[in-house]
Symmetry: C2
Subunit: 222 residues, 2 copies
DNA sequence: GCAAAAGTGTTAGGTATACACCCATGC
DNA sequence: GCATGGGTGTATACCTAACACTTTTGC
């Protein structure tokens, strides 16, 4: 493919991906060390990188999580594009940010040389404009949870209704009445019982459910 | 500012802006002629252009509407970033799309050499990926109308409740009961009466309202 | 038998929906 | 006085929110 005149190509296009996971009922996000003197010395940032000539930004996000974080099976959706002139002090980078969600068993097993899941409330000042990106991502996550079935990507394949409720309570930062929550979610008819029960818990075992559809559906929730 | 290595700068970053207006109760969008042989001959597309080194994409969108369409006072919000490798067949362009909204008096008075407002339902096949962009924009517009006070940017500064209802009915493509619509919108407490009435209409003149706040607020609507 | 979490129904208050007639103005 | 759109209230169904006790399991 032809290229546009060089003077129009002053910016690089990157993707950045805050990948969220719930670990022990606490929202975590994947960060890695950044050490790019003089501006970004020993700071944390989300995984990200520059897109290739042969891919769109969706594909770049998937590739970069794989290459830089050894992460597969991440649910991704585009978040927002950040383009302030000085958002990366080294040179002009326009970043198409994505939100990534992984199931807890993926995050629990995660081991990588420099990337790790850190509790969102414990994050320090991040590199680039990633604090702003985080704020945008959290707001979007709350919105999406409230009117779609996106919670399925933060839960194991099968889960208890209490686990599902905990996802909502953790991310929306409010509590729900157990009976009302169950009534609501069950009448939406998006879950089905697996027929299995929890095993090895030291209390009454709960019934396990799964989402009927792997699609993220629009739902009237909260 | 330093530049990244040239081999990473294969793409240009552009913005594209479908600008919507309601004219006589019909949704219109601003398009201009594109004539870029061999791929795009005498086609229509939304206003758009390449960002400058000194601006972010928000600023670029505002500037381009002014420069290429002589349009000011457009409400803008970022829509989505389109990055498919072949979305522009001439060379690699990553487009950060915005939605623009203008008040009917602006659209009615609009005169420009090649840009014009065309009814959305009458649009032909557009250049680039602008049909896909339109689809995304319309879906977003419906969503925003349903849970924010964005309608204010498609209405004159003062308006009747029937005009407001027509905005909702046109964009959401459903009808509302007049009494229930009024009750709902008035109990939300976002409107105030101007004290003025319509003049020169050949029926009973309606009371004129305005939005209390110029901010776009989140509201529980439909 | 005790600790821990699962599971389950009812009531009251508020919100959404459906529906029809009179009013003010221009011509 | 007629045509046009403006403006208003009520009754019903539905949904939401508040609330407490019994069950099952492991130890």
């Amino acid at each position: 493919m032809n290229k546009a005149p060089i003077e129009l190509r002053f910016a690089v296009v990157a993707v950045d991906v805050p990948v969220f996971a719930l670990l022990d009922g606490v929202l975590h996000v994947l960060v890695s060390e950044v050490n790019k003197p003089p501006h970004y010395i020993n700071m944390l940032a989300f995984l990200g990188g520059i897109i290739d000539e042969s891919e769109n930004t969706d594909e770049a996000a998937t590739r970069i999580l794989k290459e830089k974080g050894n992460l597969n099976s991440v649910y991704l959706e585009q978040l927002y594009t950040f383009s302030n002139v000085n958002r990366d002090k080294r040179n002009r980078v326009v970043s198409v940010a994505y939100i990534g969600l992984v199931k807890p068993e993926v995050a629990e097993a995660y081991k990588h040389s420099d990337a790790r899941f850190v509790a969102v409330i414990k994050l320090p000042k991040l590199a680039y404009d990633h604090n702003e990106m985080l704020k945008t991502a959290l707001a979007r996550l709350q919105g999406k949870l409230s009117y779609t079935s996106i919670a399925q990507h933060l839960l194991p394949r099968t889960f208890t209704l209490t686990e599902l409720q905990t996802v909502y309570e953790t991310i929306l930062q409010r509590e729900f009445d157990k009976r009302n929550f169950r009534k609501k979610i069950l009448t939406l008819d998006v879950l089905e019982e697996t027929g299995e029960m929890q095993a090895g818990v030291k209390n009454r075992p709960a019934a396990l459910y799964r989402f009927k559809s792997k699609q993220v559906l629009d739902l009237p929730l909260f």
